[in-house]
């Protein structure tokens, strides 16, 4: 059930997004390091290592997207 909800959300994002978002000059907050999708640096590697070695699951975040959108 949860899978279906998240799948639907993903497809909605994919389909209905032409009008959602910000102007290129409105990315001041998104440009911050704290708002990057991969802001944690070495710590995310440590977390992945610990959780992968103690749990049965894999998969998760991906770094692409967001940010200042510059150039």
């Amino acid at each position: 059930m949860i899978r279906k909800v998240i799948l639907a959300l993903g497809l909605t994002l994919l389909g209905g997004c032409a009008h959602v978002g910000v102007k290129p000059w409105q990315r001041d907050i998104l440009a911050r390091n704290a708002m990057a999708l991969d802001s944690e640096g070495n710590l995310s590697g440590y977390h992945d290592h610990i959780y992968f070695s103690k749990e049965g699951s894999t998969g998760g975040r991906n770094a692409s997207g967001g940010g200042c959108g510059c150039n």
């Binding site: 911050r32 200042c68 150039n71």
Partner: protein
């Protein structure tokens, strides 16, 4: 080389600045809130850019913000461009899109530039020029028509940017 193009309002501001600075220092000293620069200090009022007064000159309009990392690099090029042309041939106007004026001031102080700044915190000028990425530069010919748009700033493309400017400067309408 010192920039020779200084519009009259800025000249006045330059003379008054030390006095304004002293007044502000005293205000801070008595705990009053710090004044954010008013649009009277800028080249034009916020959100307006009147290009008609530059007709007959090539205009290089550069849109930037303090949070835009390539903008930081672009200023070195803009300073160099300013130094390469006389102010009667080339006008460079930078348009700042920060919502936070303090961040813009902090950036300008670190970058070190004599170029004029127009503040456009609501993005009215950016919308008018259809800015699609940060930074963007729009190069306008002597006839007032938009001739080139540079999307983004890349150090390895500066010769291309300069070629555009020299081509337009070379045109005499």
């Amino acid at each position: 080389m010192r920039p020779s193009f200084i519009p009259s309002s800025l000249h006045l501001a330059r003379v008054l600045r030390p006095f304004a600075a002293a007044v502000l220092a005293l205000s801070i000293g008595v705990g009053a809130s710090v004044a954010v620069p008013t649009s009277a200090m800028a080249v034009e009022p916020d959100g307006t850019l009147d290009l008609s007064k530059y007709r007959g000159k090539v205009v290089y309009v550069d849109f930037w913000a303090s949070w835009c990392a390539p903008c930081r690099l672009s200023f070195a090029y803009l300073n160099q461009l300013r130094a390469s042309y006389d102010s009667k041939d080339l006008v460079i106007v930078t348009v700042n899109l920060d919502r936070d004026r303090k961040a813009a001031a902090n950036f300008l102080q670190a970058v070190g530039t004599g170029l004029p700044v127009v503040y456009d915190p609501k993005g009215a000028i950016a919308t008018r020029f259809q800015v699609s990425t940060m930074p963007t530069s729009v190069v306008i010919g002597r006839d007032g028509r938009q001739r080139f748009v540079h999307h983004g700033y890349f150090d390895n493309k500066t010769s291309e940017y300069s070629q555009h400017v020299s081509a337009l400067v070379g045109e005499h309408s």
